[in-house]
Amino acid sequence: MSLPIYFPLGLGALLFGIGLWGALTRTNAVRILMFIEIMLNGVNLNLVTFNRYYWAQTPESASLASIFTLFVMTVAAAEAAVGLAIILSISRTRGTVEVDKFTMLKG
């Protein structure tokens, strides 16, 4: 592999950083959910990169990252489904999706 390992690792870190910043500063709940997906994607990229550069010795160890990434994506899909359902039902009762307006639990 001629590509230096820092390139894909840096891309993964950049995606994670941008996603983290977006998730922390935006107030639209749907948009926050989208940035969490971007962060998970950056983590997957890191995982696959390290597996490809250092761990692809046997067919089984070479496919470990693919299997783990499959589980990460499964959890991401489940999280997006339940998160969107919660956002829809909360927007139906409260009439808004801005997270700083959800102050029902405030004492």
């Binding site: 995606l15 941008i18 749907v30 997906e37 067919p59 589980f71 339940v82």
Partner: protein, 177 residues
């Protein structure tokens, strides 16, 4: 120029193009005013990262990235935005909040600082030379490992998906009067 150098250069150029597309679309995701545009830029970012997965010779991951992220999750988010009938969900670009929260270039600055910090840690870790892989992940090896050694996590993941589906239906279904 030998074929190997050409290949090397092509690999780097392809990676740089894909990385630029991914970063640009993620940046537009943060800055675009309409949330539907943000969702479409998210699909573009996922597709570019799928291309990077192809460069890293992980074809299976690239395929499920396209299927799950670009196909399923983007479609689900777009459907939730468009079918909800709530104008509030589409409105975005909050007007409140301090100025630094809304600043667009600051997104790249913060992301760049984070990436530089991570690259500094990687450089300090003295990563060894990349090995020449003796074998690449084949779909056959992935499938046989998934159904023998990792069959219990696989089944747990399917149960998780089933529970998520039932939970989403219960949460969004209108209550019967």
């Amino acid at each position: 120029m030998s074929a190997l150098t050409l290949l090397t250069r092509g690999e780097s150029i392809a990676f740089l193009i894909l990385a630029l597309v991914a970063l640009g679309s993620t940046y537009k995701m943060v800055t675009s005013r309409l949330i539907t545009h943000a969702a479409l830029f998210m699909a573009l970012s996922f597709t570019a990262v799928a291309g990077v997965f192809l460069l890293l010779e992980a074809e299976f991951v690239a395929a499920i990235q396209i299927l799950i992220y670009t196909g399923a999750i983007t479609t689900m988010i777009l459907f939730a935005i468009m079918l909800s009938g709530l104008a509030e969900i589409r409105k975005d670009r909050e007007t409140r909040g301090p100025l630094w929260m809304k600043s667009d270039p600051l997104v790249l600055v913060v992301g760049g600082i984070f990436a530089a910090f991570m690259c500094y840690i990687y450089a300090a870790a003295n990563l060894p030379e990349a090995i020449t892989p003796e074998s690449l992940p084949t779909v056959k090896a992935i499938g046989s490992a998934l159904f023998t050694k990792y069959v219990i996590p696989f089944e747990v993941a399917s149960i998780l998906l089933l529970i998520a589906m039932v939970g989403a239906i219960i949460l969004t279904a209108k209550e019967a009067e």
